[in-house]
Symmetry: C2
Amino acid sequence: MTGRVTPPSGARLRLDRVLHALGDPVRLEVVRRLARDGECSCAALDGGRPKSTMSHHFRVLREAGLVETRAQGTTHLNALCRASVDAAFPGLLAAVVGAPEG
Amino acid sequence: MTGRVTPPSGARLRLDRVLHALGDPVRLEVVRRLARDGECSCAALDGGRPKSTMSHHFRVLREAGLVETRAQGTTHLNALCRASVDAAFPGLLAAVVGAPEG
């Protein structure tokens, strides 16, 4: 299986949806982890949480335009859409990723 | 009636709760308006929405530590807790308030 789930383009990024996607502790942790470590598999990011729960969180992140996911064999690899989010909302990811834990 | 609903102190501000509070179009509009115009009454911010709806939104904003409300006679005046949010999460409000509409 190959392919890429296309996130919204920069032009369609909506600030309220981006903030909503970030406003959950699990999704926030995923975004901060992707910012720190780069592309990660779903398994590396689930922290032992149920697959259905994580599927929901990844869908919210993708639909907001924060994360893109590509299939590599049977693995899904996730990456932060840093360039498009930075272009739409300068300084937002830097503030979120740079903030202290908690 | 006088008094002030005390928001969380800077030490207790949580990034996920702040982002959750910002991640709603009505609350985001309120925060951007307070950043632009300073202290505003609830009535000036409701945009014709029902009082019960706005009470909920103001509660979420207060509980996240983004807004503080003080009573002046029968009016409630709301202000952005800019200093404490800036101290806890530098650059976050600037990015959110400075972002283009929508």
